[in-house]
Amino acid sequence: MGKRAGTVLWILAGVANAVSLGLIFFYAPVEIQMGAVQKIFYYHVPSAIVCYVFLFLAFLFSLLYLWKEEPLHDHLAYAAAEVGWVFITAVLVTGPIWGRSAWGKWWVWEPRLTSFLVLWLTYSAYFLLRLFSRGEGRTAKIAAVLAIVAFFDVPIVHKAISWWGSIVHPKKVVLEPPMRVTFLVSLAAVFLLGAALAYTRTRLGLLEAGRAEREGWA
């Protein structure tokens, strides 16, 4: 995983996001009930899906770290959790703006939103733990346990609507073909952006720890 992989990932992410934004603003139709603000959907929902993927990776690498105690797994878990947190924040920032326009309220204390806020707070605690503690081995182990426990909120967020219902989120979204195409391109673009950020963040973590050459990420 050298410099070249990172360059390729960033070029792909840049091109995909440029295409995606072009489709969102010049191709996707304006939704009749909500108007232009509905176009937030094309980054809001992919950000939620991509955050699930990265939080799952953080969970997986944390398990691997506790099992094998291999520092590379800890670096990968930390990077995945950090990128996942950025995408949780993206969802939490765009959602209320869309909600204020569509429902007239910035925030509603309903199960999906509340469980998602809990997710953000839990991973924020993970970073506070990382930032304000020293002693690599012990901190890494506690952080790994926290990342594993925190991940159990993801299925709760995902199933919140079918378990408890929702006054603002629909159970199912049906998209017109141009909207579906735009959504799929945006999903790929956001995923590539996440992959590029995660790659850069992992390499940075390894360089800071002086392990990049040993792990083949120099």
């Binding site: 108007g35 232009a36 937030i40 993206a90 204020r100 360089l207």
Partner: protein, 48 residues
């Protein structure tokens, strides 16, 4: 001709103008990702 124009301009409910919220949403997203990018970049710089 008049009736044709009448047919073409069948009243369709116009979507509300919510472009300000759309701009706010994508502006906030841009700020978040540029901010995180800057955070990583400063860490790179400190390293070199």
């Amino acid at each position: 001709m008049r009736s044709l124009l009448g047919l073409l301009s069948v009243p369709v409910e116009a979507p509300p103008d919510t472009r300000a919220y759309l701009a706010l949403g994508y502006g906030a997203l841009a700020l978040l990702f540029v901010g995180y990018g800057a955070f990583l970049w400063f860490r790179w710089r400190r390293l070199r």
